[in-house]
């Protein structure tokens, strides 16, 4: 299966990168962009599926792919990616 993980800086954490990108968008003549937050997107191909595998993936998201002190993650299992 294919797993998509999005990692974003927590709302409470300043994201200076996002601010710089927002400013760059404004310099491109689009001042309507009010705020930008920059995160990470990861695509993971996983052999196998099931509740146990998903639980392990959440563990990996918490322990390695994101730092819960400063980031939140969202994990999505893509439909149609099942392999037998």
């Amino acid at each position: 299966m294919k797993v998509h993980v999005t990692v974003m800086p927590k709302k409470s954490v300043l994201d200076p990168q996002g601010v710089a990108v927002r400013d760059a968008i404004a310099h491109h003549g689009f001042p309507q962009a009010r705020s930008v937050r920059v995160g990470k997107f990861m695509e993971i191909e996983v052999a196998g599926a099931g509740a146990e595998v998903e639980e392990r993936l959440h563990e990996i998201c918490r322990d390695l792919l994101s730092n819960p002190v400063i980031e939140d993650y969202e994990m999505r299992i893509e439909a149609g990616g099942e392999q037998h």
């Binding site: 800086p9 300043l14 200076p16 792919l65 730092n67």
Partner: protein, 234 residues
């Protein structure tokens, strides 16, 4: 009396740390490779600066899972003196051996310059030869040194006197103007509650002799040796 400098792929201040410990202070010092799994017989362990694993994912995030880190954690849990400098501090935070996290400097710039630091607490093995309020001139060199933690954690650090160094001006005045990277409460270095693990963004090993522009970093090494019962030569 023996020190270990841990080397990760991408460490680049390992030789500077070795120089300060071994050449300046005469301490027997070994390099320990990140794939090693044992840390026996050491009185001081240093996680040096650099860009371990290319800073991929987050600074220190991958080094945290190096084989040697299990031994480092056991060493720290047993009360051994552990100091993480720059990337070493990031690794300690990622390992949860110290609270909080180090994020991108608020200016987004990599900053490499001498900065003034005010000594906040001396009842610990890392600054026992300094006096509270003393100002040290020690360089920083980082892009991700902006210390972040929630308010409750920051309050607890203050209450327990775990903040050891803050960015200040030459007179020891701590303000937003003396904050190079946006760190919460101007924090430059903290220790754990047990006071045997110290993480700091500034590089004391780059301020270990007048020929380097400052010898103020030596007060940290001298304090460590003092707490280990060794009278320091330098």
């Amino acid at each position: 009396m023996k020190a270990a400098v841990i080397r990760f792929p991408g460490s680049n201040c390992d030789q500077d740390c070795f120089f300060a410990l071994n050449r300046v202070f005469g301490l027997a010092t070994d390099y320990v490779w990140h794939k090693d799994t044992a840390l026996a017989g050491y009185d001081l362990v240093v996680l040096p600066g650099g860009f371990s694993y290319g800073d991929y994912l987050r600074c220190g995030a991958i080094a945290r899972f190096s084989p040697i880190m299990k031994a480092v954690r056991e060493y720290a849990d047993a009360g051994g003196l552990l100091i993480g400098i720059c990337n070493g501090f990031q690794i300690l935070a990622e390992s949860r051996l110290l609270p909080g996290a180090l994020v991108r400097n608020r200016s987004l710039h990599f900053i490499c310059e001498h900065r003034f630091l005010r000594v906040e607490a001396v009842d610990n093995p890392f600054l026992n030869r300094a006096v509270t309020g003393q100002v040290l001139n020690i360089p920083i060199a980082h892009g991700e040194g902006n210390y972040t933690a929630d308010e409750a954690t920051l309050d607890e650090l203050d209450r327990n006197r775990q903040v050891l160094l803050r960015y200040s001006d030459a007179l020891g005045c701590v303000s937003d103007a003396s904050n190079p990277n946006g760190s919460a409460r101007n924090i430059a270095g903290i220790c754990n509650a047990a006071r045997n693990v110290f993480g700091l963004m500034p590089h004391p090993e780059r301020a270990c002799g007048a020929s380097l522009g400052s010898a103020d970093g030596n007060i940290i090494f001298r304090s460590i040796l003092n707490s280990l019962g060794v009278s320091a030569a330098a």
